[in-house]
């Protein structure tokens, strides 16, 4: 902590260790508002129509409106891409932490699932139809 006389001592830094300050509270409120405003926002986005699946072997597109189970292979092994009722998720992932499984299901255009260890990404795409814009 840099104070007015410029000397940075342990005693001065120990003042950081105390009960939350007014500014800590303001920060918490600000971050809570930011977080919860983003919970509301995605409801406005459009339902996706396709899935763009990228692996080290290339890119494949699947139909998000049709149910199906597709194998997706990466360097660590094969995960299963489950498409069900307009949403998609990964299952049976071979990566150690299985973070990608918990990133789904995704359904809105722009949402994505990413598996970094297994180099797989699944992105929902969907066009805004001209009807929807002019209506």
């Amino acid at each position: 902590m840099r104070v007015v006389d410029g000397r940075d001592t342990l005693a001065k830094r120990m003042r950081l260790v105390r009960r939350p300050t007014f500014w800590d509270g303001m920060l918490l409120v600000l971050l809570l508002v930011l977080t919860f405003s983003l919970i509301v926002y995605p409801r406005q986005s459009i339902q996706g129509t396709h899935l763009e699946v990228r692996t080290p072997d290339g890119s494949v597109t699947y139909d998000l409106t049709r149910n199906g189970i597709y194998p997706v292979a990466g360097p660590l092994g094969t995960a299963m891409l489950i498409v069900q009722d307009g949403s998609a998720r990964l299952e049976n992932a071979p990566c150690p932490l299985k973070i990608c499984e918990s990133m789904g299901p995704v359904e809105k255009a722009g949402e994505a699932i990413l598996c970094l260890p297994n180099r797989i990404s699944v992105k929902v795409t969907g066009e805004i139809s001209i009807d929807a814009v002019t209506r």
Binding site: M14, V17, L27, L31, T35, L97, I99, G110, A112, P117
Partner: protein, 170 residues
Amino acid sequence: MRSPGRIAMLAMLISTAFVLASLERLLPNPAPMIRLGLGNIMTLVAFVVLGVRGGVWVTGGRVALVSLVWGGLFSPTAVLSVAGGVSSLIVMVPMMKMGGRFSLYGISLAGAYAHVLGQLTVASLVYVGSTGLFHLLPILGTAALATGLFNAAMAGMLVKRYAAVSSRLP
């Protein structure tokens, strides 16, 4: 950062941060996306006991060790780990210099949230090519606020013991 005692203290904080981060990986986690960020406790301790530079060293050292041991120094997961560490420092270091408006709680909260934002940004832009992963922000952000407060409380308890040792260092 030059005296042997301070170097030993720094080494101890970095290794403890590494052990905590590793322990967190090994424990079963029902929500694998949500990380407690226990390693950041030691960064907070270092901020107080050794100063801003000590905290930067602890975060840098932890990120390097965790990347080296768990999945390759230049792997995509290491890139994300660096993104999180750098983002949290970008926010926490200026807050340390703000002359005491914030306590460890505010610094920890901001660091945890910045860590999440930094990782989501890098993962989205670099690996997905859109803002695709930000649908995870509500859940990750809420978790970051909870773990940020928890880590600050833990650091507050630990720091008194470390400081007692530190004041007697050569």
